[in-house]
């Protein structure tokens, strides 16, 4: 009887844990990895910060993180950002970023706009499913 109660209790706790862990796990499963965003930060510092600011606050180029950026890009997708990054940036050598570099930069922009990191890297296939909204 005691053993049976223990099993039932354990099963119940297991179910509760699964119920709780499910949504929490989904919430932390962001569209890029922290390592990818870090790689993007390095590229950004070298190739983008002189125009867009060290903290993506804008300068000669537009802001890339913050309320103005979100207001401007709300409703667009990460694919729209990626298009600009991969075909028009940097302005002195547009189209020169390698595919993984462009994706890393988009990951960094997402990170700086408070999108959470996850376990899987940002890929081209994911871009259109990532809506730009305030986080």
């Amino acid at each position: 009887m005691f053993v049976r109660s223990l099993v039932v209790t354990a099963s119940f706790i297991g179910c509760i844990s699964a119920f709780v862990a499910g949504p929490l796990a989904a919430q932390s499963s962001g569209p890029y990895t922290a390592a990818q965003a870090a790689a993007g930060a390095t590229i950004y510092a070298a190739q983008c910060s002189s125009c867009h600011g060290a903290k993506l606050e804008g300068g000669a180029g537009p802001q890339l993180a913050g309320s103005d950026f979100i207001a401007k890009w709300t409703g667009q997708t990460a694919d729209d950002i990626h298009y600009v990054v991969s075909t028009q940036m940097p302005q002195t050598a547009p189209g020169s970023l390698k595919p993984d570099e462009a994706l890393a930069l988009v990951a960094y922009i997402l990170q700086q706009n408070k999108y959470p990191a996850g376990d899987a890297p940002l890929t081209a296939a994911k871009l259109t499913s990532i809506k730009i909204v305030k986080q």
Binding site: K72, W73, Q76, Y83, Q88, Q91, T92, G95
Partner: protein
Amino acid sequence: MLELNVNGAPHALDVPDDMPLLWAIRDVVGLTGTKFGCGIAACGACTVHLDGAPVRSCSLPVAAAVGRKITTIEGLAPLDQPHPVQAAWVELGVPQCGYCQSGQIMAAAALLERKPKPSDTDIDLAMTNICRCGCYPRIKAAIKSAAGVA
């Protein structure tokens, strides 16, 4: 000697690698439809397509365009068969002074290539070109007309 492909034609240019593409297009190739505006990639008067994407040619070293497909306003469409954006420009009488229009048209054409039915936000984000005459409402209307979303 640099080899450029401009509007589908090859051009061999004896110019420094760091010459702005705009200078090469205007002063060496002789296509003067693309305009010099600010010289710092801010206004967009110098917009051309590089492999189909709109870029600011005043800040782009000519060497960076080697091996790429460059399209200027002269190569956007045949004279007797204007691009839908050009046709809408005429229909709505978009330009006032007209200086920025080749850059505006190139930016708009690239937008419609990527987004044939653009939203207002799509247009606002893509059309970062400056018009000193303030023809923005007609520019937006012409883009919508060309896209059939007016």
